[in-house]
């Protein structure tokens, strides 16, 4: 049984349909990438999975239970955690408080003082900056807080929306290395990225979204060799 199973989901903003009859699955322990250009519906899909948006039809099952159109606080409680695009930190709160609030759900709250040590292990920089306001951090550090905040919720499945957005190439590399570590520790990862090269290298499988539909899917290695992907996304 798939860990996350999306079947025939449709999502619209008013009259504009953004996600079209989309199906995808993520198995436990996998790293799965969703790639596609701007406006392909990637962010909309993640927001629908995490409950910020409602699907007009279709089902989303997480660990076998239907979660479509449940509010985000219920979905987080079950271990499906969404690290949003653009980091969205609580800018006037300290790094430590940002991480603390990441463990707000009742499942993670009791263990937060233990979890935070693991996050500081993953990002030693954040331990140094724990008393600094989030707004005073650099872009790379802010992304570390965003990912660390997601880890604080003790995710079974971590969904990340463009974690490499706006970062210098060297930081992009270190973010992907961290994601590798997170996956190796046993967290299932669903990654939305425009950096197709890095994300497919990290992933077991990938989906290519175009106009809100799955245009291609398959093992990451096969996708990287696919002529269409080479031309359209890898610029080769």
């Amino acid at each position: 049984m798939a860990y996350l199973e999306i079947e025939n989901v449709n999502v619209s903003y008013g009259d504009v349909q953004v996600v079209n009859d989309l199906s995808l699955t993520v198995n436990e322990g996998e790293v799965v990438s969703i790639i596609g250009g701007n406006g392909a519906g990637k962010t909309t899909l993640l927001k629908t999975i995490s409950g910020l948006l409602t699907a007009s039809s279709g089902t989303i099952k997480f660990k076998g239970e239907e979660i479509q159109n449940r509010p985000p606080e219920v979905i987080v409680e079950r271990g499906l955690v969404h690290v949003p695009e653009g980091r969205r930190l609580f800018s006037l709160m300290t790094v430590a408080d940002n991480l603390d609030i990441g463990a707000y759900n009742t499942r993670a709250y009791g263990q937060r003082n233990h979890t935070i040590l693991g996050v500081y292990d993953l990002f030693p920089r954040l331990a140094e900056r724990r008393e600094q306001l989030a707004m005073t951090l650099s872009g790379g550090e802010q992304q570390m807080v965003a990912i660390g905040r997601g880890m604080m919720a003790l995710p079974g499945l971590l969904m990340l929306d463009e974690p490499s957005l706006g970062l210098a190439p060297i930081l992009v590399l270190s973010i992907f290395e961290t994601l590798r570590k997170i996956a190796d520790m046993g967290t299932t990862v669903l990654l939305v990225e425009q950096d197709v090269n890095h994300s497919l290298r990290l992933s077991d499988r990938g989906y290519v979204l175009e106009h809100g539909r799955v245009a291609l899917e398959g093992p990451a290695k096969e996708l990287m060799d696919n002529p269409h992907i080479k031309e359209a996304y890898l610029g080769m």
Binding site: P72, V76, R88, F90, L92
Partner: protein
């Protein structure tokens, strides 16, 4: 000189209580981004609650502080949950929900007129254990009820500040005030947090009611007197700022009491509004307002 000291002391004490009336307003605005026009009415409810409690039981007004604020918390919590939330939900995704403001205006009218229906328009006062008593500090005579009000206001502000900084719910309130969608993704039920914010703001109005009633009178539209002040204080101190509310309150209180030594009180009102306009022109974010917060 002693007249000046006297008015400074009086102004500071009164000002801290003005700050207290503004605290709930600034909290609700900070979290919900809703200007709560019913805030003065909630203060009126707090004052009437304290009035009837003290009138009927004759208890010490400090004791009322243990009873009225929790009652008002429940009142505010369910007022938001049952009356305001449905409108709020229909405006989901709007940063500063406008129709909610109109709903709070409706709540103001309903509460004031309900009080008028139940209690009549007369001005009521209640004699408490501390009413009319005072002590002297050098040349300055300090009224006990106002001094108590000052201390309680400060303690309430510090308590609220610590609550926001240290507790799980406090952090959730701050997170929601900064980014409600991101807070939602952390597992924070934003509508429940709004209930809590509204409940706390109302409870603080209850605290204010308890400290004001020993030296002031209550009537159904008494909220308006404090409400307009509270709005000015909140803008002066910075929308959403706790220390800003108290400092803004003290500034207004001191202006009011010292200028009243030299001119008629109608002029002090004009000066207060003048300063209000200057702040809006030159530092619209107020003393402690943070642009990042917007």
């Amino acid at each position: 000189m002693s007249a000046l000291y006297q008015s400074l002391v009086n102004g500071t004490m009164m000002g801290a209580m003005y700050g207290l009336t503004a605290l709930g307003l600034t909290l609700i605005f900070g979290v919900m981004k809703v200007v709560n026009f019913a805030h003065g009415s909630l203060l009126m409810v707090g004052m009437f609650a304290a009035y009837w409690l003290l009138k009927i039981t004759g208890m010490h007004p400090f004791l009322a502080l243990l009873i009225v604020p929790p009652l008002l918390f429940v009142f505010g919590y369910y007022l938001q949950d049952l009356v305001i939330k449905p409108v709020f939900k229909s405006e989901r995704g709007v940063r500063e929900p406008l129709t909610v403001i109109i709903v709070t205006t409706g709540v103001w009218y309903v509460l004031d007129n309900l009080a008028l229906m139940l209690f009549g328009a007369e001005y009521r006062t209640v004699r408490t254990a501390i009413s009319g008593t005072s002590f002297s500090m050098g040349e300055v005579i300090v009224s006990w009820p106002k001094f108590a009000g000052f201390v309680v206001s400060m303690l309430t502000a510090v308590g609220l500040w610590l609550f926001m900084l240290k507790t799980r719910t406090g952090k959730a309130l701050r997170a929601t005030s900064m980014d409600r969608e991101a807070a939602n993704l952390m597992g924070i039920d934003q509508y429940k947090i709004y209930n809590v914010a509204f409940g706390l703001g109302t409870a603080i109005a209850g605290v204010a009611g308890c400290v004001i009633i020993p030296f002031y009178y209550v009537y159904p539209s008494v909220g308006v007197v404090f409400d307009i002040r509270a709005f000015i204080i909140v803008v002066l101190g910075g929308l959403g700022s706790i220390p800003g509310a108290i400092l803004g309150g003290v500034v207004i209180g001191i202006i009011e009491s010292t200028f009243a030594q030299f001119m008629t009180s109608t002029w002090t009102e004009a000066i207060i509004y003048g300063i209000f306009l200057l702040i809006l022109f030159f530092k619209p974010s107020g003393f402690f307002g943070n642009k990042q917060d917007w």
